[in-house]
Structure formats: structure tokens, C-alpha cells
């Protein structure tokens, strides 16, 4: 082959093609391909959404409608007007959707006495989209923002007083949960996110009553959440807490371990030594 003239695209291409069997060529090509992909992705990927003030992504009503039609309309109706299988969602607000879907209760798998919690099958964005769609159907409780969930000024002791009047009769003094009628139950509250706790109080899911902001102010809700969070984290100074269920488990251990060990010692005492 004649030597190319120096300079120009032809010169470059010539230089490349002459080196195409260089032992580093495959590695270089791979690197080139990766860089090209990255650049293309950066160029064409959608820009990240602006975050809402509650740390949740902003929902898209249209995306939400699409998700709704696919996952929810079979029970709640094509326009969320409700059906024999599910109530209307008009006016339940974004808070209800955020609660139900984030905790995995919705979409309901099996209609029993009470809808059960399951792993959430949607992304945060999808949940926000669904919430935005439902919120667009009619005015309803909104997802709490960061200021409502800021526990730094909360009073857990006052929260405890309000909790014991309004919440412990269903959820137990330590948030261990409790029984309702006909197989329904109030779930345990330990390990639940503050936002979810707030939304439950606000929207009154399933059997739970609604605790509106006039009858239980946002500060009171915040104090209750502070109480739950403070006490759920605290160590049990007396030892193993036995489920925080009260005298029943204590009685069981007293018999099993206490009497059991003592009878064991009695048998040892009465046995003849070798």
C-alpha cells in the first residue's frame, strides 16, 4: 500500500485501519463503546424531576392514570367511581393512596376480613403518580410535608398522653397491635415510617377512625409520632420484653422457665448421687 499523504481524515482513517490488529485494539474499542453509550444516555435520558417539599417525588397525573387503569380500576372502577369490589376514591386524597400503596395493602390481593400488608410493588415515583392522579379527582387529605413530620420540637410525653387516650385501645400501650372484631386487627406500629403513621391518622384506613386536623391537630399528630418513635427505639431495661404484650406472656414464661427450672432442680435434688 502506498503511504497516505499526512493530515486529513483519510490520513486518520488510514492510521486507524493500519493499527486495527494491534493487541490493545479490542480493549480500546470496548472503552470507546462504553463512553459512547454513556454520552448517549446522558444526552437522551429524561431530566430528574424536581423534588417536592416533602422529599417525595412530584407525581404525574397522566402517568398516574395509566397506572391506575392497569392496577386499580378493576376494583375501583375506570374513573375511580367505585364498584362492588372497592369504594370510590374520589376525595380520598393523595395521603390515602400513599399510605395504602406504600404499605403494600393496595392492590389488595385477597379480600378477607382485612386487607393485609405486603411488600410494595411500585417505585416511589409510581406511588407519587398514583397519588397525584387520585388527588386530581377531588379534594382530599394531602401527603404530609417535611414540616409536619419534623420531630425535633415534638413532645413525646404529651404524645404519649394523647396516644393513650386515642390509640392504645386498638394498638396496645407499646404499639404491639390488637384484635378487632370478626378477624380484623389493629396492626403493630413499630418500625413504621412517620409519614405512614401520619397518613393513617389523617385518612382513617379500613377500620381505623379518621383523626381530622381539627380534632387532632398536626402538632398533636407529630407528638404522637414522636412518642411512638421514642419508645420503639428505647431499650427494655428489665431484660427481654417478651413481646410487650403484658401479663399473658409473662405468665407463660413464669410457668415454663420459672416453675420448669425449679422442678428440674427439685428432681436433681431428689435423685441419688452416683
Amino acid at each position: 500500500m502506498t503511504r497516505p499523504r499526512p493530515g486529513g481524515p483519510a490520513a486518520l482513517l488510514g492510521a486507524l485501519s493500519r493499527r486495527r490488529r494491534h493487541r490493545l485494539a479490542p480493549a480500546l474499542l470496548l472503552l470507546l463503546a462504553l463512553v459512547a453509550m454513556g454520552a448517549a444516555y446522558t444526552a437522551f435520558a429524561p431530566t430528574p424531576q424536581a423534588e417536592a417539599s416533602n422529599g417525595q417525588p412530584t407525581g404525574s397525573v397522566d402517568a398516574g392514570r395509566a397506572l391506575f387503569l392497569k392496577n386499580c380500576s378493576s376494583c375501583h372502577g375506570l374513573n375511580a367511581e367505585g364498584s362492588s369490589d372497592g369504594p370510590t376514591l374520589v376525595g380520598v386524597g393523595a395521603a390515602s393512596v400513599d399510605f395504602q400503596v406504600t404499605t403494600g395493602r393496595m392492590p389488595a390481593a385477597r379480600l378477607g376480613a382485612q386487607v393485609q400488608q405486603k411488600p410494595n410493588q411500585f417505585t416511589r415515583q409510581e406511588v407519587a403518580d398514583l397519588a397525584a392522579y387520585v388527588a386530581s379527582l377531588g379534594p382530599g387529605p394531602a401527603i404530609p410535608d417535611e414540616s409536619q413530620l419534623d420531630l425535633s420540637d415534638a413532645d413525646p410525653a404529651r404524645g404519649g398522653e394523647i396516644y393513650r387516650t386515642n390509640c392504645s385501645m386498638c394498638h396496645n400501650y407499646a404499639g404491639s397491635g390488637g384484635a378487632l372484631t370478626e378477624g380484623k386487627y389493629a396492626p403493630p406500629l413499630r418500625g413504621v415510617e412517620p409519614r405512614i403513621l401520619y397518613e393513617a391518622m389523617l385518612t382513617g384506613p379500613q377500620s381505623m377512625p379518621v383523626f381530622g386536623d381539627h380534632t387532632m391537630t398536626p402538632e398533636e399528630k407529630r407528638d404522637i409520632i414522636a412518642f411512638i418513635k421514642t419508645t420503639e427505639d428505647e431499650p427494655s431495661p428489665g431484660g427481654a420484653s417478651l413481646g410487650k404484650l403484658g401479663p399473658v406472656t409473662e405468665g407463660g414464661i413464669g410457668w415454663l422457665v420459672g416453675i420448669g427450672a425449679l422442678i428440674g432442680c427439685a428432681v436433681w435434688l431428689g435423685a441419688k448421687a452416683r
Binding site: K184, V210, L269, A271, K272
Partner: protein, 376 residues
């Protein structure tokens, strides 16, 4: 195995046996003397009353089995090892005591990490004390089991019944004493004594009268008055009817109850629930008359034995008492639909004042809480 256990034909420990004496009628039929070692294998038969009272020949008590010696009885080295084991128990006990003392002074729970420190202190103090106590006991028991004589001793058991002579003497003594008192003869003394002693018992009971006031009409009224504002419990805020969402339950009390001379006593009777239904869900006419726009108020004191009925199931409109599961249907004037309560919850008649705040129209029209005799 035979080298570990050494049997002896004649058992020891028979020195404490006393003669079994004559058999008394009071004792169950004679089983033989139970003499130790009398016949573990020899199969001696005795006569004894059978099932129908007749004497039958059956197996007799074989007596104490021959003594089995422990290693520590025959082997001085084994005995010494047992001694060391017992001493080890006592030693661990001392260590436990030490642990307790150190932990007590080393950990003083206060301030920031209160619960962690109390937790650690409790565990260490408990472990120390527990080991200290347990190991003394274990050491003592181990000592008794392995080193102290384990020969079984036989002692006589006399019948509980006293001898005939003793009984006769006792009767004589009592007769003599009774004759001396002459109660049989001196009826005046006897009657007046009874007359004095019997009422004396009353003096132990009468001063208990001031344990408490008579119930009177206390159980038939609460702190609610006509026009009492309904305020939240425990935060004390009045409630506007318009602010109450459907599906809500509010725990309330009468305004100003904290100014009562015994606020807790009043709260125990006056504690109330406010629930908002859809107006057409109310099925009872009286209930509707006493409601405001579907807002109803009911006593929170369960009519079974007085627990607060707090659980409101929003969708079924049922009120559940957590103690014994009495269930009340709010749409039917809190009629009892399950559980041991016999009476529905009393309703508080409601109204709104000029500013729209929820008020009571009147007090409860029947006693709240558990049933009692004079309830009517």
C-alpha cells in the same frame, strides 16, 4: 456396672427402727413390719384383708432395698473430688457476690443513657445476686447428695389418735373444769355471758361505717350539664360540629371538669365518645333526635364492668370494648350485638351553641357504666 455399685446384704440405718407396737384399729391393715432388707427377693407372703374384707394371702412389703454406695463412700479420691466440686460452687457464689458489689457501685444510671444503664445494671446485679444465691444452694445440695450419709433411716410413726388413757384423762380434766365453772348449773351466768359476748362482735364492724359515704344518688348523675361544652380529652379543646369529619371518633369530656373537687372521679363517669355518621345511617328515632347532623355522643364507660369502650370500627360502625369484647352497634343506638354487656351504652343528647361548638343538651338520662342493684 457392678464395680461402681457395691451392694450389701444387710442394710445399714436400721438402728433407728423402733418396735412397731400393737396395731391400732385406726391404721390401715398391717403390711408387716417393713423390716429393712427382709426380703427383697425372697417373696414373703402375708395375710391381709383383701378387697372384700376377708384375709387373703398376698405379697408382703419387701422392706428397704439394700443400700447402694456412692463412689464417694468407698473411694477417698472421689470424695475429695466431690469436696472440690462443692467448694467450686461456693467459690462461684462468692464471685457472684463480688460481681453484684462491683456492678452496684460502678453503674449509676442517670442522664442521657438512662435506659441502657438501667438495663446493664439490672442484668449485672441480677446475674451477681442470682449466681451468689443459686450456687450456695447448689453447693449445699451437692454436699448433701454426695458426701453426707445417704442411708435411709426408718422411724416409728405413732397413730395420731391419743391413747385411751390420755383421752379419759382429758375428759376428766375438762369435766372437772366445767364443774368448777358451773356453767351447767348457773344458767344466769351462762345466758348473760352470751348476751354480752354476742353484741361485742358488732363493735368490730360498726366503726367501719366511715370507710366511705353511702352511695346515695352518686351513680346516677355525671358532670355533664345542659349547655356543657364538649372538649377533647386530654387536650381540652372545644369542637365545632362543622370540623368533625365523617368516620371520626373523638374522645371527649365536659368543659371545666378539671375544676371539680375530684376530677378523676368525675371523669370516670363523664368520659364520652363523639362519633360522626351519615345522618341516614342512624336507625333509631331517639338516637336521631339527640344527634346533630349525624354526630352522636355515647358514654365511654362499658355497661359490663366499666372499661372504656374505645375501639371504633369506622366501616362497620361498631364500638368494641377491649376488655371482654362487648360490641355495640352505633347505628342502632349502641345496642349490644356481641359479648357479655347486657345493656346498650347510654346516649348523651347533643346540640350546637351559637358559635357552632358542640354542647350537651342535658346530662345522661340513665346511670352510666356497670349495672347495680338499685339501678332500676
Amino acid at each position: 456396672m457392678s464395680d461402681q455399685r457395691i451392694h450389701e446384704g444387710d442394710t445399714s440405718g436400721s438402728k433407728d427402727v423402733q418396735a412397731s407396737g400393737t396395731s391400732h384399729d385406726a391404721l390401715v391393715g398391717d403390711e408387716g413390719t417393713g423390716a429393712p432388707g427382709a426380703g427383697a427377693e425372697s417373696g414373703h407372703l402375708v395375710e391381709r384383708p383383701g378387697q372384700d374384707g376377708e384375709l387373703t394371702r398376698t405379697w408382703g412389703n419387701p422392706g428397704l432395698p439394700s443400700h447402694v454406695y456412692r463412689r464417694s463412700d468407698v473411694d477417698p479420691k472421689a470424695a475429695q473430688r466431690r469436696e472440690r466440686e462443692v467448694a467450686t460452687f461456693f467459690g462461684v457464689s462468692t464471685l457472684g457476690t463480688l460481681l453484684f458489689i462491683v456492678a452496684y457501685f460502678a453503674i449509676k444510671p442517670d442522664g442521657e443513657d438512662l435506659l441502657e444503664e438501667v438495663s446493664l445494671s439490672t442484668k449485672l446485679l441480677g446475674l451477681g445476686l442470682g449466681l451468689a444465691l443459686f450456687c450456695i444452694g447448689a453447693g449445699a445440695i451437692h454436699w448433701a447428695k454426695t458426701l453426707m450419709p445417704d442411708d435411709e433411716i426408718v422411724q416409728d410413726r405413732k397413730p395420731m389418735r391419743s391413747s385411751d388413757e390420755d383421752r379419759a384423762a382429758a375428759v376428766e380434766a375438762m369435766k372437772e373444769g366445767a364443774a368448777g365453772a358451773g356453767l351447767g348449773r348457773r344458767k344466769l351466768i351462762r345466758n348473760s355471758l352470751l348476751g354480752a359476748m354476742a353484741p361485742l362482735g358488732l363493735l368490730a364492724i360498726i366503726p367501719l361505717r366511715d370507710l366511705g359515704p353511702l352511695p346515695g344518688a352518686s351513680l346516677t348523675g355525671t358532670w355533664w350539664r345542659p349547655g356543657s361544652r364538649v372538649v377533647t380529652d386530654p387536650t381540652g379543646r372545644p369542637i365545632k360540629a362543622a370540623d368533625i369529619p365523617i368516620g371520626t371518633v373523638i374522645h371527649v369530656q365536659p368543659e371545666g371538669i378539671e375544676k371539680a373537687s375530684h376530677p378523676l372521679n368525675e371523669k370516670a363517669k363523664a368520659t364520652t365518645l363523639v362519633i360522626r355518621l351519615e345522618p341516614d345511617e342512624i336507625q333509631d328515632q331517639k338516637q336521631r333526635d339527640w344527634s346533630v347532623d349525624g354526630i352522636v355522643a355515647y358514654s365511654k364507660v362499658c355497661t359490663h364492668v366499666g372499661c372504656p369502650v374505645g375501639l371504633y370500627e369506622q366501616q362497620t360502625h361498631h364500638l368494641l370494648c377491649p376488655c371482654h369484647q362487648s360490641t355495640f352497634d352505633v347505628t342502632r343506638d349502641c345496642a349490644v350485638i356481641f359479648g357479655p354487656a347486657a345493656r346498650p351504652l347510654p346516649q348523651l343528647p347533643l346540640d350546637v351553641d351559637e358559635e357552632g361548638y358542640l354542647v350537651a343538651r342535658d346530662d345522661y338520662q340513665e346511670p352510666v357504666g356497670p349495672s347495680f342493684w338499685e339501678r332500676g
